[in-house]
């Protein structure tokens, strides 16, 4: 018979306020296998842990149940406590009598009864626990950063500086991301390019950093410390080694009708193009969909004019497979499509633009050379209306329920920039709330209103429609209830930010989860903001949720620090709660192998010698390093030959039985 000790925590009054601890102790004492039951005010405190430690030794306990807060909170704490006392840490179970009991039930009798039931289930389970020993795995000391925006750049630089190799994989032809498109940054109004491009250069020249642009992640195998990543480097059609970046090809290219992605479609580009002058690498790429040579087989002008002989039409996509110890996901964000917001006339009027388009319009390097003109007739506008929360904080299907966080500030910035350059242009901002938490943020917004005379109107715009050359903007002032009609020349929409289209797909490849909005989920909203639930994979920037640049950079450095911490280790211990095959029972149907998300199960042939009669059979085998312990295989296994340690079939059935008393 086991010697189980039950320790019931009061958690001050958090538990003791609604649960009659005395009764739980008394009931626990009667439970099968329990030889000791004791309470304490704060079991997680040093004194409480000492109580557990000493009792394990004194009472020769071989199993321990802690009835306290959620195991997600302190399971690890008490496992360590047990270990110190010489007990295998996996002989500890936690009964959650706080989050799942005392905090939700008001009736003391009911809560006490439930606390007893939960403790009974934990006792029933722990009785079947076995000592588990974690294995060790090596670490590949190289990191992969997915995404070459400011988040990825900062992460890569930090890791590289710490002395580890880093690869950046970027989907587009150049690194730089959204920040490269932005004109000025709030609240300092310093030039975005001026602070970003030096970092881009640092990345491209750092001996520890490799950049794979125009490349996408194809699949990821392996596990923390030992990821094996395959990426697909798309054919650039230009030899990166030979190209000298002279730009003759892009000038001479006769196909100039493709929309420039970098310029948000406000300008055309050639079929062979460099996204922007400061692009890294400064090597053009041929857009095979726009290229005449690829479409018709004729042309090839770029090849003729290239002084370096770098054009290679025959290039093909290449697959690259490399091993990494850590992965940082920094794929950034996008803004939502506005086709469902008919009232703002974005899709049918050129002079209704998004804020990102506005960034290009005011940018000195942009399509208008920084001159603010209407896209439709290139005339200078007289009145510009800004509409905030277009799709943000919107509970309808077309929008996003969350606040996009950056719009209030960049809208103030945009209005301020206009008023600064063209004091004769009137600016109006429709807003629901202005949110400016951040260092010098509110001051910035107040300057826009007070010093620059930007007109802020609390209220939403109901309708925008063309009226001759003008755009009629109809809205309501929520403070006065007045209908507001403005005959504007230009409207700028602060479209909601959203997760990247391919975030969910990437999440699946990496086995990390996304939330309902497809932003990646951090491991803990407060205490593990850069970790994911998948060990060795970290998050940086707006792919985890809307963020401005300083926050992004901060998180990037955080993710880098975590990655460095991991890469600096020689060995890792892995989770011992993994699957195990009972070869005697396994039929070798291998249904488990099809379920396993980690390809952790393979097969082997075993021979049996039964009274001299030799028979062979196929059975499943689990790779201990790959298995993450989800348990999906156990259900696919009809005879119950594969079971998961720590959550065995018998243990769960015992819990069911114990709860159903």
């Amino acid at each position: 018979m086991q010697r189980i000790g039950v320790f019931v925590c009061w958690c001050g009054t958090n538990i003791a306020g609604t649960v009659n601890i005395e009764k739980v102790i008394a009931a626990a004492g009667e439970m099968p296998g329990v030889v000791y039951a004791k309470d304490y005010q704060y079991m997680c405190s040093a004194v409480g842990q000492n109580l557990v430690k000493n009792t394990i030794k004194e009472q020769k306990l071989d199993r321990v149940v802690i009835a306290s807060c959620s195991p997600r909170m302190h399971e690890a704490t008490f496992r360590k406590t047990a270990k110190v006392a010489g007990l295998n840490p996996y002989l500890v179970e936690v009964a959650n009598i706080r989050e799942h009991c005392s905090w939700i039930h008001k009736n003391k009798e009911e809560a006490t009864k439930k606390a007893i039931a939960l403790t009974r289930a934990a006792v029933a389970k722990v009785a079947l626990n076995t000592a588990l020993i974690a294995g060790e795995i090596g670490v590949e000391s190289r990191a992969l950063v997915i995404g070459g925006g400011i988040a990825g750049i900062q992460t890569a630089l930090d890791i590289a500086e710490a002395g580890y190799e880093v690869d950046i994989i970027e989907k587009s032809p150049s690194i730089g991301g959204k920040m490269a498109q932005i004109d000025k940054t709030f609240p300092t109004l310093d030039c975005s390019a001026c602070i970003l491009t030096p970092k881009m250069v640092d990345v491209s020249t750092h001996p520890n950093i490799n950049i794979y642009t125009y490349s996408e992640l194809e699949n990821v195998k392996g596990y923390v410390g030992n990821f094996e990543v395959t990426m697909n480097q798309r054919a650039r059609s230009v030899n990166m080694e030979k190209c000298i970046g002279c730009g003759i090809c892009t000038d001479k290219c006769p196909s100039k009708k493709a929309k420039s992605e970098f310029e948000e479609g406000l300008r055309n580009r050639s079929a062979i193009y460099t996204p922007f002058p400061q692009a890294i690498p400064n090597v053009p790429v041929i857009d095979r969909e726009a290229c005449i040579k690829f479409k018709t087989g004729k042309c090839g002008l770029c090849e003729t004019v290239c002084p370096a002989g770098a054009i290679e039409f025959s290039q093909e996509d290449t697959k690259i497979t490399k091993k990494y110890g850590a992965i940082v996901v920094a794929i950034g964000y996008d803004i939502i499509a506005l086709d469902k917001f008919g009232e703002y006339a974005y899709t049918n009027h050129q002079d209704v633009i998004t804020s990102l388009e506005f960034e290009r319009l005011t940018n000195a390097a942009g399509p208008t050379g920084g001159k603010l003109v209407r896209p439709s007739d290139h005339k200078k506008p007289k009145k510009v209306v800004f509409v905030q929360c277009v799709g943000s904080r919107d509970k309808t299907e077309r929008g996003k329920t969350y606040c996009s966080k950056i719009c209030c500030m960049y809208t103030a910035k945009h209005a301020m920039l206009i008023r600064d350059k063209y004091p004769d242009i009137e600016t109006y901002v429709f807003y629901i709330d202005v949110r400016t938490p951040g260092k010098n943020f509110d001051e910035f917004h107040r300057r826009a209103v007070e010093e620059y005379g930007v007109n802020y109107i609390k209220g939403m715009v109901g309708k925008i429609f063309p009226d001759g050359e003008k755009l009629q903007v109809h809205g309501v002032d929520a403070l006065t209830g007045d209908t507001i009609k403005i005959d504007a020349d230009m409207v700028v929409l602060a479209a909601a930010t959203k997760a990247k289209e391919d975030a969910e797909d990437l999440g699946r490849k990496l086995s990390i989860s996304t939330d309902t909005n497809n932003f990646f989920t951090e491991a803990h909203p407060k205490l593990k903001p850069v970790e994911t639930h998948c060990a060795g994979i970290y998050l940086a920037g707006a792919c985890q949720g809307p963020k401005d640049i300083p926050e992004t950079v901060a998180q990037a450095s955080g993710a880098a620090a975590k990655a460095i911490g991991l890469l600096s280790k020689d060995k890792l211990v892995n989770n011992p709660c993994i699957s195990e095959v009972d070869e005697k029972i396994c039929s070798g149907c291998l249904a488990c192998t099809k379920i396993c998300p980690y390809d952790a199960i393979t097969s082997k042939v075993i021979t049996f010698n039964d009274h001299g009669k030799i028979t062979k059979r196929v059975v499943a085998q689990v790779n201990k390093a790959l298995c993450q312990g989800c348990g999906g295989c156990t259900v696919a296994c009809r005879p119950g030959a594969i079971d998961i340690k720590g959550f065995t079939n018998k243990q769960i059935l015992a819990e069911v039985d114990a709860l159903c008393r």
Partner: protein
């Protein structure tokens, strides 16, 4: 069938003589008109015992599991339904395709002795011969021919695969039989129409007939586990008690374990000594799989993933309000 019977014997003899295979699995006639049982022969002269008649209902493929463990090359005669079971065993890695030579036998249907008895035609019956759908009853007094399928097993009347879907040699010409897909799940639909109370009563009544003999499981080509969970004392679910709750547990679990794997051969229902319509359980799951996750016939195509070991991102579900499977 008699002509094919000659071929069966000749082929078995040849295969054993030429050492193409170590063993041949076939059927042999026993004591009574309906008594046919599986035999495994290793010598060419034993081939004369083999038969092919309207009672060769047993699927021989499950026996291959043991033979393959012993590393034997085996020749086996398989009907359409048998071949589906064979494929399921193949899919479950229970047999090695390279170690088996399949002699395919298109099948017009097998005769249900119960139906013959019910018509009182078993008195003094010596033999039943079948040629297509003409059944000849041989008695001491003489022969009587009846045309039609009224003596076929119900499962044969609903047969959708009269021809083997996998074979190395086909011993007869393929048979064309039209079965209405519309009627396929009419047994299920009838039960679905009952009220929840009626349904529970119907099934608990059926389950309570169970004598826990496991014949349904042991005959099943999808139930090929080395050790069934109900025989695995460590699994915590085994019990031999004939109490309602255990019987319900057994039958729900059995049907659920063959979900997406049941080849609808109907053998479980045939062999149940208590007359429990187990196929009605299997059919329900098949119907749901077809409706929720697309048409799937276990045993037809070995390369196709079984519905419960695969998924689609936008799979439907039957429990959320929208049922569309999304967030």
């Amino acid at each position: 069938m008699e002509k094919i019977g000659l071929k069966v014997r000749a082929r078995a003899k040849e295969a054993l003589e030429n050492r193409e295979v170590d063993e041949v699995m076939g059927w042999k006639k026993g004591e009574f008109w309906y008594d046919v049982y599986p035999v495994f022969i290793t010598e060419a002269n034993e081939a004369d015992d083999l038969i092919w008649d309207a009672f060769c209902v047993n699927n021989l493929s499950k026996y291959l599991i043991q033979k393959q463990k012993e590393n034997k090359k085996v020749g086996v005669f398989l009907k359409g339904c048998d071949s589906l079971g064979f494929n399921q065993l193949l899919k479950d890695n229970r047999i090695d395709r390279d170690q088996v030579v399949i002699y395919g036998l298109p099948c017009v249907g097998m005769v249900d002795p119960e139906k013959v008895k019910k018509e009182g035609l078993n008195k003094g019956l010596l033999e039943i011969k079948r040629s297509k759908d003409e059944i000849t009853f041989v008695t001491k007094e003489g022969e009587k021919k009846i045309l039609g399928r009224q003596f076929d097993y119900d499962k044969c009347l609903a047969c959708r695969y009269p021809n083997p879907v996998v074979y190395d040699e086909l011993l007869d010409t393929e048979i064309a039989r039209e079965v209405s897909e519309m009627d396929r799940f009419k047994d299920v639909e009838a039960i679905e129409k009952m009220s929840i109370t009626e349904r529970f009563e119907y099934w608990s009544n059926q389950f309570s007939k169970c004598i826990r003999c496991n014949a349904c499981r042991n005959i099943c080509p999808a139930c090929s586990c080395e050790k069934c969970v109900f025989d695995n004392v460590n699994a915590g679910v085994s019990s031999k008690a004939s109490v309602d709750s255990e019987e319900q547990f057994f039958h729900i679990t059995r049907a659920y374990h063959v979900a997406g794997r049941c080849v609808d051969c109907g053998e479980c229902t045939r062999v149940c000594p208590a007359g429990i319509p187990l196929d009605q359980l299997n059919h329900k799951i098949m119907k749901d799989i077809n409706e929720l996750y697309g048409k799937y016939d276990a045993g037809v195509d070995v390369s196709q993933d079984a519905p419960l070991v695969t998924y689609k991102l936008d799979d439907a579900d039957s429990f959320t309000e929208h049922g569309k499977g999304g967030k």
